[in-house]
């Protein structure tokens, strides 16, 4: 049975859960990014190799423009894309190569990789946009307005809770 056939859609759904959690971890350690930057990532999410090139170009630019928190973020995204590439290769039985982080070479591997990267970027950018949205508090918030960019329900307990925030882990 070929790699593509062996890989059921349901398996990708389960993998998406891991991808989701990885995206949340990366978002958690990231400072404020321009919405245009997040949109640019989304538009390139369907082509992982193009996205990697874009990230590398953006990284040099960010250093030049003195946006210090961008390069670690770009590095994090690049690492995740490469890791998902390795995972995709393993899933469809692409021939193993010595080079770590190498992208899938067969059409089946590339197709799986595209799906995983697309999911990763969607989860990552939506989480970042959500975190960055101005927050004025809710009618239920007893503690008054939340700090800008701070209130994030995905990271916290029940409404009004002052407990430490935890990411939304829908698969847990």
């Amino acid at each position: 049975m070929s790699g593509t056939l062996a890989l059921e859609w349901k398996l990708l759904i389960v993998l998406d859960q891991e991808v989701y959690e990885e995206a949340l971890c990366l978002a958690k350690g990231t400072g404020k990014l321009a919405n245009s930057q997040l949109d640019a990532l989304r538009t390139r999410a369907s082509e992982p190799s193009e996205l990697l090139e874009y990230l590398s170009r953006q990284k040099s630019r960010a250093w030049a423009e003195d946006r210090a928190h961008y390069p670690p973020f770009f590095d994090g995204v690049s690492r995740a894309i490469r890791r998902l590439g390795e995972q995709s290769r393993g899933l469809v039985g692409d021939p193993a190569t010595a080079a770590v982080g190498r992208l899938p070479e067969t059409p089946a591997g590339q197709a799986v990789h595209r799906i995983l990267v697309h999911g990763f970027i969607e989860h990552l950018t939506s989480e970042l946009q959500f975190r960055q949205a101005p927050r004025l508090g809710t009618p239920r918030s007893a503690g008054g307005p939340a700090s800008p960019g701070g209130a994030h329900p995905g990271d916290r307990g029940p409404a009004n809770s002052r407990e430490p925030r935890r990411p939304v882990k829908h698969g847990s």
Partner: protein
Amino acid sequence: MKPLRLRQAVSLQAEAMYGEPLALAARVGPVFAKQREDGAGRGQFHRFEAVVCSAERVGVILDHVKRQAARLRAWRESGLADEFLCWVNEKLPGHTAEVRRRMGEDLSPEEELTVKLLLVQEYVRALVAQVEFDRTKSEVERS
């Protein structure tokens, strides 16, 4: 027969948790009704329901809620996004465990994710129906 039993267990659990979306609807409905200039009309809820019912995984729904909250004040100020995400985080695992208990056997990872998706769909369907019902009722009362 397992898929059928799974559906049945999910339906029973949806009945058991029916009050939760209604309580949220009572809180967010009036805020949305006041903020029509923000595009927070009926279409918002119908689109939400459409996204949820056509989703193949919960992550897609969470992404949609986060994007809407980032884009629209009503989603943030009404507490819809916050409370929905909290429900997914805090309550959904318990409801899923209850379905597992009703089934009387362990669920595979795919089945567990399917149960979560079905429960979220039931929750949002009930939420949207209640918001719509409340809004129409208040419009009739005003006229």
